[in-house]
């Protein structure tokens, strides 16, 4: 059994996530797509780890999960804050920080 299919699945998931980030305007969905991209990466890490018989990849996957959790906390917090101030939940309208 080769890792090829796992890597293909990972690439497809990553592409879906990246496409979602690029296309969708709702911050909530963008956050979900980011999560998808991170987990695509995790899948690749675990697959390679398994193929090489090396546990380091698994450890990396765990760390990525922790980072993802943190990122979700911050992201969701921002979204709630934006919602409370009754601003449009649309990343194209939230463009105060332009040059």
């Amino acid at each position: 059994m080769t890792t090829t299919w796992y890597i293909v699945l990972s690439a497809v998931l990553f592409a879906v996530g990246a496409g979602g980030v690029l296309i969708r305007r709702s911050p909530l969905v963008i956050l979900l797509c980011l999560e998808l991209m991170l987990n695509a990466g995790n899948l690749a890490l675990v697959a390679f780890s398994r193929a090489h018989g090396n546990a380091e990849g698994q450890v990396f996957a765990l760390i990525v999960m922790v980072v993802a959790a943190c990122e979700v906390v911050v992201g969701l917090g921002l979204i709630v804050a934006v919602f409370r101030r009754r601003l449009p939940l649309n990343v194209d309208d939230l463009r105060e920080l332009r040059g």
Partner: protein, 668 residues
């Protein structure tokens, strides 16, 4: 009790007086601040006497004590303690400083009574006395520098005491700048001492210097010359003397205390204190002696022509310090310090009397506008004549014994040191003349209107003005007070002057050749290891010197009497005949103009160039170019920051994809 405890108390009282006056000025009524200041210094004087008695309990060879309160700085190879050094020399100095200061504080209590800055004045004055005592009691070079800088500040603060007077603040700055030049010399000398001897403590430095340096070694000459820079700036010797005449802008008691009796003699004390180093560097000592000789003659000639009463006395101070510098530089330590003591008496007295005269003239200081004040100011005139007699070394006055002792020592040392004897007598002739020029111009002749008014019991009050420029002033804080005070009416001033007058007349009797030798015997332990200790002028030569001195003094005095009293037109005729010389002297040998051309103008021109050319063109050019560059780049990249998060994401993903593709292709 050990002498050091009393020495610490000597330091504590003036500091306490300074702090009480500084923080209590708002609540101290009337003359309280003045009395607090005077009593604090008086107590310091009492402690100095007790320290003297405590010192006498010990045998002559065992009269050096050190004591330290705490360690100032400690590091590898460095150990500086807040320590004092009590030996006959420092006890002698604290006695002179605190004694004369007590009388001058007493005088000031009345003299500045109506000044709005009364408590501030006494706070400064007490601070000065504290600093001066710290300077003379310091046990190492670091603390010496602290005291040295403190007295410089006190002098600055008191010269500029009337801070709304432009001439006073400029004079203060001038004094401060020149004093800082001296401080730099002293600090550099200390660096050299520490580099080569590894310690700052007096005792250790002097014993190590005698072992490590050989005579006239380069570094010890350098140390001595740098010490001389400090000493000459503080003691107003050539070429750093120009600040002292201007320092007369301060209140008259300040001139008496700081710029005549005490602070300006710090240089003499420094040379005496470091005499071990100077004896290892005879070249530096000779340079010092020649500068002293040059200064004493130069300043005496200026005093012949200047017409500002206080400035005449200031030049005479510079001249007399020249004698002391000659004395301590050629090895006549006891004689030099004896002259320091008698000079403190008669010069403080002259300034006090001058203060009384200036008050009677409602602030005028120009002797051209004075005359005939003898009957209006009987007490002041007697005391001023006493001071002038002592200054002119009139037989049996204090200056007579002290000045001649220096000159006799020079002749006993022989060789080229005869120059100092001869030069000193030339200076003495000029001294006799200018001392009595003051007396005859001010007190003899036709009474001026102010004198006539005062004879009728009315003290003239002119509208307040700057005596130098004639600018109008008021009498609020920052300017002199409204009332004028003369010694005839205020007992504090009268008593201070009477005591100093007594000392100026009879202070010399402590050291009559062949009879007694109090000052030198007392100081002997401090100079016991001096190579000049065995040069003792014989009694015969001392009396011959006194005889020559007496004749010269009387000749100078008589010449003044002849010029100013017997033939009143003579001085005007002389000025006409030797016009250029007179102009040269009136302009004080053009030293101020020289410094103006050599230092001040080039600096101002450099400043102008830096501001108008360098700053405007070069600096601003570079700064503007840098700003424009940053701004231009900003304009170019600003478009990328659109605020569209998805555009950033596209850039990121596209970028990584492109990179990935590139590496994929490159790895083929």
């Amino acid at each position: 009790m050990s002498p050091t405890i009393w020495a610490w108390l000597v330091l504590a009282f003036p500091l306490a007086g300074c702090l009480v006056n500084a923080f209590g000025w708002r609540v101290l009524p009337g003359k309280t601040a003045g009395w607090i200041g005077a009593v604090a210094i008086g107590l310091a004087f009492v402690c100095a006497i007790v320290a003297l008695i405590a010192l006498q309990d010990h045998t002559a060879s065992d009269r050096t004590f050190t004591s330290s309160l705490w360690t100032y700085a400690a590091a590898a190879g460095l150990d500086i303690k807040l320590g004092i050094y009590v030996d006959p020399l420092s006890v002698f100095m604290i006695l002179v400083v605190s004694g004369v200061s007590t009388l001058i504080h007493l005088y000031s209590v009345a003299y500045l009574e109506s000044d709005r800055g009364y408590a501030r004045y006494f706070s400064y004055l007490n601070f000065f006395v504290f600093s001066m005592l710290l300077l003379v009691l310091a046990g190492n070079f670091v603390l010496l520098i602290v005291g040295w800088a403190f007295v410089g500040f006190a002098s600055y603060a008191l010269i500029s005491f009337w801070y709304r007077r432009n001439t006073a603040t400029t004079a203060g700055m001038k004094a401060f700048v020149i004093n800082v030049i001296g401080d730099v010399g002293l600090v550099l000398a200390t660096f050299f001492i520490f580099r080569d001897l590894g310690t700052f403590d007096y005792g250790a430095v002097f014993s190590a210097a005698q072992q490590q340096f050989h005579t006239n070694q380069g570094v010890v000459i350098a140390i001595c010359l740098l010490l001389l820079v400090g000493a000459f700036a503080k003691s107003a010797q050539l070429p750093l003397h120009t600040w002292l005449p201007d320092a007369m802008e301060g209140p008259t008691p300040v001139s008496a205390l700081i710029h005549a009796a005490t602070m300006v003699t710090a240089g003499v004390y420094l040379i005496a204190r470091t005499h071990v180093l100077f004896e290892l560097a005879p070249t530096a000592a000779d340079i010092s002696a020649f500068i002293g000789l040059g200064t004493l003659i130069f300043a005496a000639t200026c005093a012949l022509a200047v017409t500002d009463l206080k400035r005449i006395i200031a030049y005479s101070t510079i001249s007399q310090i020249g004698y002391m510098v000659v004395g301590v530089s050629i090895g006549a330590y006891g004689a030099g310090l004896f002259h320091l003591m008698t000079h403190a008496f008669f010069k403080a007295l002259l300034f006090m009397a001058a203060g009384s005269v200036i008050s009677a003239m409602a602030g005028t200081q120009n002797i051209d506008r004075m005359g005939g004040l003898r009957r209006a100011l009987p007490f002041t005139s007697v005391l001023m004549i006493v001071g002038a007699l002592a200054l002119a070394a009139f037989p049996l006055t204090s200056g007579f014994f002290s000045k001649d002792e220096i000159l006799v020592f020079a002749s006993t040392r022989g060789g080229m040191y005869w120059i100092f004897t001869i030069g000193g007598y030339v200076g003495a002739l000029l001294t006799g003349f200018y001392a009595f020029r003051i007396i005859f111009r001010v007190f003899w002749g036709e009474p001026v209107p102010e004198a006539r008014e005062l004879e009728q019991g009315h003290l003239a009050h002119a509208p307040p003005e700057n005596p130098l420029t004639g600018e109008e002033e008021d009498t609020d804080i920052g300017f002199p007070g409204a009332e004028h005070h003369i010694a005839e009416r205020d007992w504090e001033m009268g008593w201070a002057m009477a005591i100093l007058g007594f000392l100026a007349l009879f202070g010399g009797f402590v050291q009559i050749p062949g009879v007694d030798n109090v000052v030198e015997n007392f100081l002997a332990p401090s100079f016991a290891n001096s190579v000049f200790a065995n040069i003792i002028p014989s009694t015969g030569s001392a009396y011959l010197g006194l005889l020559v001195g007496a004749i010269i003094s009387i000749v100078g005095l008589s010449a003044a009497y002849w010029v100013y009293v017997l033939r009143p037109g003579t001085s005007a005729a002389l000025i006409r005949r030797v016009g250029p010389v007179h102009t040269f002297l009136v302009n004080k040998w053009y030293f101020d103009e020289l410094y103006d051309a050599v230092v001040y103008r080039p600096l101002i021109a450099t400043g102008w160039f830096a501001n108008n050319v360098f700053e405007r063109v070069v600096v601003q050019g570079i700064v503007t170019a840098a700003v424009d560059l940053v701004r231009g780049v900003g304009v170019m990249v600003r478009g990328a920051q659109s605020g569209f998060v998805r555009a950033y994401a596209l850039l990121l993903i596209g970028g990584f994809a492109a990179l990935g593709l590139y590496f994929l292709i490159a790895s083929q």
